[in-house]
Amino acid sequence: MTQQTQGIDFATLSLRDALDLAVLIEEEARDRYEELAAQLVLHRTPAAAHFFTKMMRVEEIHRKELAEQRARLFGTQPSTVRREQLFDVEAPDYDAVRMNMSHRAALLTALKSEVKAHHFFTEALRHVGSVEVRKLFEELCDEEIEHQKLVKAELDKLPPPTRFEEDDFSDDEPVAQ
């Protein structure tokens, strides 16, 4: 697994910072889903785009919940954790998408991201010092499992994968610019 955060010392991480971190993780994921959706819309891959837009909203809900929790506990205290310390913790890789990717492929991408996030929290838990932070991360771990179940459920609803790749049906030639 490649490095997912930089400069965060889990051993001394405070609850406030842990919440801020969690908020940013959701924010990062939300922004990435939004970006990927936009790319896919531009490249005529509506099913996957639609799904990623849905994921964007889901991540926003998570973010909001965590942000509200943070506000209740710590008000407007400034945050010391920065977005730049995160490297795609829960956000899908840019490399995960392709033009004409199927709905199934998009779901698999989201699943992979949830697994990634779960792994992150699991790893972090091995180093976390604070009891409160431990509790928070355990909750978040469980939530990631829940999310994975939801995505799997959606996958199960889909017809079984065909022998063909989406791209095989594509009859649009690349256009030189």
């Binding site: 490649t2 730049e84 030189a176």
Partner: protein
């Protein structure tokens, strides 16, 4: 020049939606660039981002900096003009392997030896993406493309060795497969006080080979640090650079431990000296007065 302020990566992100294919390596490069600029903290209006023509050359438009998406192969001279006109600007140059080493190849040596404090990012994908998949100067020998259907007969240019041989003071290579590493390399390159070069292996999902995609990078990449390479060792850097095409080494190949004054600083010294001899504007013509 404004003193560094706290800027975030998103402050450098423009509203223009990139036209790059989903999965393009350049998205990662853009991320790395946002992060590097945020770390350095110059306001977007003090950053001038010059590019040539190509998919990767679209990158300035996706930042909030002053961008100049110019003509194919000529970004280096144009960028040098920008920097000389206003040395306080943070000047970044970007383009692809064709833009930089084919049509633009003649300008590289001179940009290096002039040593202005600018940073050159090449998104190297071994193909001409914008024009639909032709051979590029870094394409491996034997590669089949639309302009080499029977396989390329040419050895590729080695961008790393090229830059090292010309004496560039900062030469590095990165990949979006290692985002923290790439962001940090770009930042380091910008901070280097002189001409700096980062070759970024940024795969083309549409026309690139399967063995050049990011998944492969992840598996293949080896950091120069893990090889215990000392970036002050120029000769070892060249030796390691020879593996271009076979190995994907990431990190700093060479950083001049004693960087000389960049060109524009030398100009400033000259201007300060010479300004003592300036004539009032209406007497400039009197240099030709016959007495």
């Amino acid at each position: 020049m404004t003193a560094p302020e706290p800027f975030q990566a998103k402050d450098y992100k423009s509203d223009l939606k990139p036209i790059w294919c989903p999965g393009c390596g350049d998205f990662g490069v853009l991320q790395g660039l946002y992060r590097a600029l945020a770390a350095i903290g110059r306001p977007p209006h003090e950053v001038a981002f010059i590019s040539g023509i190509g998919c990767s050359s679209r990158i300035p438009g996706y930042t909030t900096a002053y961008g100049f998406n110019s003509v194919h192969g000529r970004s280096l001279p144009i960028a040098q003009g920008v920097k000389l006109a206003n040395p306080e600007l943070l000047v970044v140059v970007a383009g692809g392997d064709g833009d930089g080493f084919s049509i633009g190849g003649g300008h590289v040596a001179h940009a290096v030896r002039r040593n202005l404090n600018i940073t050159y990012l090449v998104m190297d994908n071994q193909v001409y993406g914008l024009t639909k998949g032709q051979l590029s100067p870094t394409s491996p020998k034997g590669l089949q493309t639309v302009t080499s259907p029977l396989g390329s007969l040419e050895e590729p240019v080695n961008p790393l060795l090229f830059l090292l041989a010309y004496g560039a003071g900062f030469v590095a290579q990165g990949t979006p497969a290692d985002m923290p590493g790439l962001a940090s390399l770009i930042e380091e390159a910008i901070r280097y006080p002189g001409f700096s070069f980062v070759n970024i292996q940024s795969p083309c999902v549409t026309f690139g080979e399967d063995d050049q995609q990011l998944k492969v990078h992840k598996a293949k990449m080896k950091s120069l640090a893990s090889l215990k390479h000392d970036p002050a060792d120029q000769l070892r850097a060249m030796d390691l650079a020879r593996a271009y095409g076979t190995e994907l080494y990431t990190g700093v190949f060479y950083r001049n431990p004693n960087p000389p004054l960049p060109y524009e600083e030398l100009i400033k010294i000259r201007q300060a000296e010479e300004s003592k001899k300036a004539r009032p504007r209406h007497n400039i013509i009197d240099a030709y007065l016959q007495k």
